[in-house]
Symmetry: C3
Subunit: 206 residues, 3 copies
C-alpha cells in the first residue's frame, strides 16, 4: 500500500515531465500522450525485456495506464500553472527514482543476476524512461550530460548490497537503499554537483 | 489467402515509404534497405518483444524479407516515377495499418491481455515502424506531430471490442474493425483533420 | 581461449570508439560510459532480444562489464594519445566484427532459423552497437551512409553457409567466415570502396 502510493507519485511525476518536453516540441495530443507514457514506463520496460519478463509489467496491471492518462490530461489542461508545481514535481520525481531503483534491483535478484547487473537494472529502471523520451524528441539524453540522476541510483544500489549481509529484513533494506538514492539526488541538486564533463571547455582551450 | 494478400500490399507500401525517407537522407544502399525493413516490420517486432513472442514474426517466415527486398529494389530503381504512384501507395498504406491493427489486437488476446493493452498493441503494430524509421533518420516521428494514423487505429480497436459481445464470427469482427481504421484514416485525409496541437501558435501569441 | 581473446579485443575497440564519439558530444562521465557500453554490447543485445535469449548475454558473464569499464577508463585518461592508436583500434574493430558476425550466425542456427535470418542476426550483432551509439548521440547512423561494415558481414555470412555443405568441422567454418569479413573490410578501406549512395549528387543536378 505504502509502496504503491510512492509508485503512483513517481509515475505521475515522470508522466508530467514527459508532457512538458513533448509540448515544447509542438507535438499533437497523441504524441504528448505517447511521450508521457514512455517516460513513465520506458525504463521498466527495457529492464523487463532484458531479463525476459514478458508480457512487460505495465501490460498486466491497469494502474499504470490509468495514472499516466490522468496525469497527462492534467498536465495538458493546467500546462500554464505547472511551473508553480515545480518543487512538488521534483520531489515526486526524486522519490520515484528511489523506488524504481530498488524495484529494479529486486527484479534482477529474482532471476539470480550478479549484484552488479542488479544495480545496472535498477539504474536503468529509474533513468531510461527519460533517455527514451529524449531520443523520441530528437535530443541528446539530458542524463548523459549534466544530471546526477544515475549516480544517485548507483550509490543506492551499492548501499543495498553492502547492507545485504547485515540486515535480515528485506523491507528495511528496501527503504534504506531508496532513501540513499533520494538523499544523494537532493544533495546534488542543492549543492549543484555534477559529474565532470570529459572535454576541454572553451576557456581551457584558449 | 485474402489476408495474406493485404499483408503483402501493406508491407510493400511501408517498405517504399521507408525507401523514400532514407533516400532523402542521402543514405547508401545498405541504409536504404535497413530503413525499408524497419519501417515494414518495426511495429510488429516491438509488439512481439513486449509480449515475449520470440523469435519475432519475420524470422520464421520468408515472405517478409522477400517482399521487402523486392519492394525496396523497385523503389530505388523507379525512384523518379514513384510520385505518380502516390495515390496507390497511400491506399496500400491505409489498408496495411487496418490489417496490422487487427493482427496486433488478436496477438494480444492470444496472451490474455486486457482489451486496452490489445488496442495499444494493435496501434503499435501499425504505427511504430514509422516511428523507428523517423528516429533512425534523426527526425521527430511524424505521427507525433500531425498524423491521425494512431487515432484511426485506436477507433478501429474500440470497434473490435465493442462488437465482440454481439458478433460470434471472428472473421467479421476482423474485417469490420479493419474497415473502421481504413475509413477513419481516409476521412481524416480527405477532410484534412488533425489532432489539436497543444501549443500556442505564433498567431495566438501575438 | 583463442576466441575469448579476440572477443575481448573487439569489445575494447568498440568501447573506445564509443568513448570517442561520446566525448565529442560533450557528455559527462556517466554518458561516456553508457555510450561505450552500448557500442560494445548493443548489437548482441538486440540479437538476443529478437530470438528470446534472455537474460541477455552480458548479464550472465562478468567479462564484458569489466573489459568495457577498463577500456572506457583507459580511453578517457589517454584521450589525447588515442589518435596514435588509430591503426591498432581499426584492426581490433575489424577483427571484432568478424568474430561477432560468426557468433551471431551460430546463435541463429541454435534456434533453427533459416540461413538468411542467421546472416541478418550476425550482421546485426556486429553493426548495431554502432547504430545505437549514433542514435543516442543524435546522429544519423554512420553505417547507413558510408561504411562497408555491413557488406563485409553479409559476405562473411554467405561464405559460412556456402561452405557448410563441404566442411564437417565447424571450427574451420568459424575461422574462414570470420576471415572473409575481415578481408572484405580491410580491402574496402584500403581501396576506398563504398556502396553507391542512392541520391543525385549536387554535380549531377547541375
Amino acid at each position: 500500500m505504502f509502496i504503491q502510493t510512492i509508485d503512483i507519485l513517481g509515475t505521475i511525476a515522470f508522466s508530467i515531465s514527459g508532457v512538458l518536453v513533448a509540448m515544447n516540441k509542438k507535438m499533437d495530443a497523441f504524441g504528448v500522450f505517447i511521450i508521457a507514457f514512455v517516460t513513465a514506463v520506458g525504463g521498466g520496460t527495457l529492464r523487463d525485456l532484458l531479463i525476459g519478463a514478458t508480457p512487460v509489467f505495465w501490460m498486466t496491471d491497469m494502474t499504470f495506464i490509468i495514472v499516466i492518462s490522468a496525469a497527462a490530461l492534467f498536465a495538458v489542461i493546467f500546462r500554464n500553472y505547472i511551473k508553480h508545481l515545480r518543487r512538488s514535481l521534483f520531489l515526486f520525481d526524486t522519490i520515484g527514482i528511489g523506488l524504481y531503483t530498488v524495484i529494479g534491483i529486486e527484479k534482477g535478484m529474482a532471476v539470480d543476476l550478479h549484484p552488479i547487473f542488479c544495480i545496472i537494472l535498477g539504474t536503468m529502471s529509474a533513468c531510461f524512461g527519460g533517455v527514451i523520451r529524449d531520443i523520441l524528441c530528437n535530443e541528446i539524453p539530458v542524463i548523459f550530460r549534466k544530471e546526477v540522476y544515475a549516480t544517485a541510483c548507483i550509490l543506492g544500489g551499492l548501499t543495498y548490497f553492502l547492507m545485504l549481509e547485515f540486515l535480515e529484513d528485506r523491507n528495511y533494506l528496501f527503504i534504506i537503499a531508496g532513501l540513499v538514492v533520494i538523499a544523494v539526488r537532493l544533495l546534488a541538486v542543492i549543492f549543484k554537483l555534477t559529474l565532470p564533463s570529459l572535454y576541454k571547455s572553451e576557456a581551457e582551450l584558449k
